[in-house]
């Protein structure tokens, strides 16, 4: 049996890489992709605990499915926003879209 730590480390790594991407990238598309990485990490985490700790019920698995569904919807919405942004500003750089401030 593969030890649970392996999966947890994998999910943690995916989440951390995703977080780094969200914070460091300037391109809206890359930020979105990083968010997807984070979501993947979270989903792996759910499934790990579901299959190791809570084998009787399906709540962890169902949650993972939810995460995937929501991620799909989110990407659909977010890509729409990025598309609008690109049409308005001719760029997908989020630093350019900073008019919502003091």
């Amino acid at each position: 049996m593969i030890p649970i730590e392996n999966f947890l480390v994998l999910s943690g790594l995916l989440f951390a890489i995703g977080l780094f991407g969200v914070l460091s990238r300037r391109s809206a598309i890359l930020i979105l992709m990083s968010v997807e990485l984070m979501l993947a990490g979270v989903a792996i985490n759910f499934i790990t605990f579901a299959s190791y700790r809570d084998t009787e019920a399906f709540s962890g698995l169902v949650f993972a499915l939810f995460v995937i569904t929501v991620a799909a919807a989110e990407v659909g919405l977010a890509l729409g926003i990025v598309l609008r942004l690109f049409r308005e500003r001719r760029t997908a750089n989020v630093d350019e879209a900073s008019s919502l401030k003091w």
Binding site: V22, L23, R26, I31, V94, A97, S99, K101, W102
Partner: protein, 640 residues
């Protein structure tokens, strides 16, 4: 008679004028004549019902079931908190004192309302005037039939409110608005004392029921010092309402109201509420003689001061106001000597002759539009009827035998001679003489001599019948009501034992064993007083002017009302307004500018500083979110 009406139904008496008040206040523009006839008819009905109660009361007495302390005849729990810990009943109580007050209030009120139909004819707010009169009568009747102190206090404030509204009836006039305010605030000072007294008594006895309190106090279950203090506080309320020194200053100013109001509220009924209260608690005052002495001397000081001020006042109504204050002082002296019967008897006769005098002065004012005696004079030729009835009232006030005032005043003097230091008797007898002097002065200056204002004199005319009829009836009462206390009169009216014992709780000395020497002395004093008044003020008042120039300081002292109004104004200006401006400064600087404005400015400044956190850059926000999640995660780990 189909419907039984007696002591059990006494609660109906205040209910009728209360209903009239609501009807008249709301609907008077819709009613013919603004509903004045409704007020008059309603009051006449109440007078009739009062006589039924009186008949019932005396029949109970005749049947031998009479309890001298009276009885609670109607009651229900009004407020009940904590299973009997705090009960306020709504109850009515009828005894001899009530049976004096009920006819006085209702008869004078009826006379005044009928008189007002003529006097107030064509005035603005005519309907409202009658509505407030009904409100007053309702509150006053509630007051005198109250079986417990909270109900009494409620009615006490009710009459105060009606008094305020009617003093300020001509509120367009600055002086009337100020007089109303002065009356309200001054009596309020006394009322606070009354409330403190009620609370103290409740704390000691656990009940508001007057008869229970009296029973507990008489049984000696309350610490004597505590009881003395409570009863003095109670007397404070009485002193405020009955215009006793040092709270007497409001009553002369209260004459700003319409004259019939002065007759009803500020002479015959409301101002005797204090006398009523003290009489009601007289069994307790008999236990605490220090409190009773306070009443005695306050009454004495008031009687002397007010009578002396009445000597120099030129406004005809103000003279009568000072006279009222002085006569109330007489009643309190009687109460202070323990002569409750004498006080209630004087209350009864005084109500009739003083209402007569006020309504008479109202006729003069109505006819001439003058109030200052300097611009009156010689009016007996123009208004013979008014002059005649006014003289009857004056003779009663001066204490000339057969007129009502003589009998009751003599009772008071006799009581002081019997139960108080001799100095009290001497002072009071002197005051009675002073009363005769200023009464004579008033009559001479108004109705005799040469007219001093020819225009006013030419304008003068006798009043219409609707004003003269109540005057005539009151003149009769001012003459004969003194005989009521005679045993023979009472027996002739079908009451064995007479009214003196029935209603006034005790036999009056005149009516059991006449003391001719004593009565003769009092009569002589009154005649001397009238003689002095005649000597000084008949004709052109030459001697009075000379006397004024002979003692200018004394005259100034009296004209300036012993400087008491100035003193109070000074206290208000210095102490109260001073403290007020200090508090205003604290409120403005500390509370407002530092506390409220300071807080607002701090928020505004912080907002200005913190708004730069909003960079509009998405990575910054994302970083903030990441930090937040991290913090939450750390908290979760720390908790697990």
């Amino acid at each position: 008679m189909g419907i039984e009406f007696g002591m059990e139904q006494v609660w109906v008496l205040p209910a009728i004028p209360a209903a009239l008040f609501i009807v008249l206040a709301l609907l008077n523009p819709l009613l013919p004549r603004r509903g004045d006839f409704l007020a008059a008819l309603g009051m006449a009905t109440v007078v009739g019902l009062v006589f039924l109660v009186l008949v019932d009361y005396t029949s109970v007495f005749n049947g031998g079931h009479f309890e001298p302390d009276g009885t609670n005849v109607f009651s229900f729990d009004w407020v009940n908190i904590g299973q009997g810990f705090f009960i306020i009943e709504f109850s009515t109580f009828v005894d001899g004192i009530t049976m004096v007050m009920l006819p006085v209030v209702t008869i004078v009120a009826t006379m005044v309302i009928v008189y007002s139909v003529g006097y107030m004819h064509g005035e603005q707010r005519y309907g409202w005037y009658f509505a407030v009169l009904c409100l007053f009568v309702s509150a006053m009747l509630t007051l005198v039939v109250s079986g417990n102190l909270i109900q009494l206090y409620l009615a006490w404030e009710g009459v105060g409110l009606a008094s305020y509204l009617l003093i300020g009836f001509y509120w367009e006039r600055q002086s009337a608005a100020e007089a109303a305010k002065k009356a309200f605030i001054t009596t309020r000072i006394g009322d606070v004392g009354l409330l403190i007294g009620i609370i103290l008594l409740w704390r000691a006895t656990g009940t508001f029921d007057i008869q229970e309190i009296i029973a507990i106090a008489k049984a000696g279950q309350i610490d004597e010092t505590y009881l003395t203090v409570s009863m003095i506080f109670l007397f404070m309320g009485a002193a405020g309402k009955s215009a006793q020194f040092p709270l007497h200053v409001w009553l002369p100013d209260a004459m700003e109201g319409p004259t019939p109001v002065s007759a009803l509220i500020h002479a015959a009924t409301m101002v005797v509420a204090g006398v009523y209260l003290v009489a009601r608690f007289s069994p307790v005052y008999a236990e605490v003689l220090i409190a009773r002495d306070v009443i005695l001397y306050v009454g004495l000081i008031t009687a002397v001061m007010a009578a002396s001020m009445g000597l120099v006042t030129s406004d005809i109504k103000r003279v009568l106001a000072y006279s009222t204050v002085s006569q109330l002082g007489f009643m309190f002296v009687a109460l202070g000597s323990g002569a409750v019967g004498a006080a209630m008897f004087h209350l009864l006769t005084h109500a009739f002759f003083k209402a007569l005098l006020f309504l008479g002065s109202g006729s003069v004012i109505h006819a001439t539009h003058r109030q200052e005696v300097e611009s009156l004079g010689g009016l007996r030729r123009k208004m013979p009827f008014t002059a005649a009835v006014f003289s009857v009232g004056s003779l009663a006030l001066a204490g000339i035998p057969i007129f009502a005032g003589f009998w009751s005043k003599d009772e008071i003097l006799h009581a002081t001679l019997k139960d108080a230091p001799v100095a009290v008797y001497v002072t009071l007898a002197g005051t009675a003489m002073l009363t005769a002097v200023y009464t004579t002065r008033l009559v001479l200056l108004t109705f005799f001599g040469a007219p001093r204002d020819q225009h006013a004199f030419d304008h003068a005319h006798e009043s219409p019948i609707i004003m003269n009829a109540p005057l005539a009836l009151l003149a009769v009462l001012a003459t004969v009501s003194g005989f009521l206390a005679f045993d023979q009169v009472g027996q002739a009216l079908g009451l064995p034992g007479g009214i003196g014992a029935n209603v006034f709780l005790e036999h009056a000395h005149h009516f059991t064993e006449p003391d001719y020497a004593f009565a003769g002395t009092a009569t002589l004093m009154s005649l001397v007083g009238i003689g002095i008044g005649w000597a000084y003020w008949h004709g052109d008042s030459r001697r009075a002017v000379a006397a004024r120039q002979w003692a200018p300081d004394l005259h100034a002292l009296l004209v300036n009302r012993y400087y008491m109004d100035g003193l109070y104004q000074g206290i208000i200006n210095r102490v109260i307004l001073g403290a007020g401006s200090l508090i205003a400064w604290f409120d403005k600087k500390v509370v407002n500018e530092t506390g409220v404005d300071g807080g607002a400015q701090a928020v505004s400044y912080l907002g200005y500083r913190l708004k730069f956190l909003q960079t509009g850059r998405i990575p910054n926000y994302a970083f903030g979110m990441a930090l937040g999640v991290l913090a939450l995660a750390l908290v979760a780990i720390g908790n697990s």
